[in-house]
Symmetry: C2
Subunit: 321 residues, 2 copies
């Protein structure tokens, strides 16, 4: 078992308890069910990892990891409502099963319970933890709003998209690592480089996510492949395709976005392939991985302690689901 | 100016700053707009009041008051989505103007900013404040879920309704008072009686709210009068009417609920009046006011300090909007 798998297993066994009261069951049972349909637990593992770099894992790192996992799941439940998504992790979404009002309210109470976990952190760390967690939570919401705004815009630049993705996805990965390090009393410098390692890795991760949504294997991916194309989402792939396609291809792409025909996904994918968007996105991902590893270099811990972080980086950007 | 009006004015001038960043404007401007469309500021005033019982108001009581007001407004924005309500405080709801996704996300970020305000409280009070705030936030969500569950149930007893209302409305009023008292280092006994004062007053307040929804003056009320009847909400009035109406009236009520005719509100109100539901609800309100005042008696402060609490109680249960 790798160091990462060990952390995943440790988190999973810690996290396997009830997180919510039993009543009203109509509110809380859908949430327990959703949380047990596990997902990859990347963010809580990052928190444990950030803590483990400095010695034995602190029990409070598990509480923070749980808070992060609940926060992340709260955003998934609400995002699925906003996106009207039918599936998540290969199963019907909370709102698809239980209705939008319960999914909305369930997300709300999941966020409150995330703060319950945060509250358990020792007092000397609490303000710093709350500050970083709240800052990140706001950024994640801002990222989601920009994402929705971009859907209505004709032109979104790669820079604008990068900013949105940083907020929507990367900062939570970065925050997870730093929260673990805060509990371990890591230096401000180390915290900064860990955060930047996570942020750049997060961008690489999202590039992979966009890639998988278009080019992933439906059997492994768990979501509808081509969902982003179907819903006219701006993605790294679409933005770059619009920038690099020839005049005919660009015209066809815009037409497909406007007309929404039944074979849209297939035809967009054909244009992506002929523009070599897959190769380009893999290169971009590598660039962000490099930036990430440069920050890793600067973290002031013995290099054998960094093995799990490197393992994580390659796990995240080479995953197929 | 009464003590209460002074507190309202103090809170209003403190609260008149921007609460959110400027970008993305599509997320934050609707929230600033909603918050400035003031409402009654009852809960933050309760927090200041709970603090003022023990001397000069602590600056941190204003931060907690702001947190409570943001939390309350977050619940309004989300409840309006769940209830598909077109109007709030006489104006179109956030989702009616800006769409459900922005209203949903805006509510989320408003809750995070509520925790930003809480975080500013001195460290020695932070855990106690967070514990009470989180406990209350969960209860408010549970109350909203029960409220929605009750809409689908044929029979809801007065006890079940009372439990729901306690969670959905009363505990936040109680919590607001206690939070102010926590900051003032009030005794546990005082905190308990203040909480119970607020909780029972909250029930009286909700009885008045149900009453106004049916018998209020549309020009003053700001919401659609008869909205609860229109949407088949269980209320104190409807539950008691179903319990006390004669066989013909009960049959008609159930028929009106099932058939939803255009003149439903008018005909339900006629049955309410002939069953003297208005008199009954006023008496019930007085009973809860009495319980509330019994707890007020037991708070260990000079009785002249209690004037504002008594003023508040009568203001809340005699209000017409």
């Amino acid at each position: 078992m790798t160091g990462l798998e060990k952390l995943q297993k440790d988190f999973e066994s810690y996290f396997q308890h009830r997180h919510f009261p039993t009543a009203p069951a109509s509110l809380y049972n859908p949430l327990e069910e959703f949380l047990s349909n596990s997902g990859k637990r990347i963010r809580p593992v990052l928190c444990l990892l950030g803590n483990s770099l400095y010695g034995e894992i602190d029990e409070h790192a598990f509480h923070l990891a749980a808070a992060i996992e609940l926060f992340h799941n709260f955003t998934l439940v609400h995002d699925d409502i906003m996106d009207k998504a039918p599936l998540r992790r290969g199963k019907p979404t909370v709102h698809a099963i239980h209705g939008e009002p319960t999914a909305l309210l369930g997300g709300d109470v999941m966020m409150v319970v995330a703060y319950d976990y945060i509250m358990r952190v020792p007092s000397q760390h609490l303000k710093k933890v709350l500050y970083l967690f709240n800052k990140t939570a706001k950024e994640v919401c801002e990222g989601q709003q920009l994402d929705m705004d971009f859907e209505k815009m004709q032109n979104v630049s790669l820079d604008e998209y990068m900013h949105m993705i940083t907020l929507k996805t990367s900062v939570l990965l970065a925050c997870s690592l730093q929260l673990g390090a805060i509990l371990a009393n890591a230096s401000e410098d180390d915290q900064h480089h860990l955060y930047e390692f996570g942020k750049n890795l997060g961008i690489a991760f999202q590039i992979q996510d966009d890639y998988l949504d278009a080019f992933g294997d439906p059997a492994k991916f768990g979501k509808q492949v081509g969902g982003d194309i179907q819903s006219n989402k701006k993605t790294f792939l679409m933005i770059h395709a619009l920038e690099t396609a020839n005049a005919d291809q660009k015209k066809e792409l815009l037409q497909l976005i406007a007309d929404n025909p039944g074979d849209k996904v297939e035809r967009v994918l054909n244009i992506f392939k002929s523009c070599k968007i897959d190769t380009w996105s893999n290169q971009l991902k590598e660039d962000y991985l490099d930036r990430s590893l440069q920050h890793l270099e600067k973290i002031n811990i013995p290099s054998q302690q960094k093995t799990s972080l490197i393992e994580l980086a390659y796990y995240l950007i080479n995953r197929d689901k």
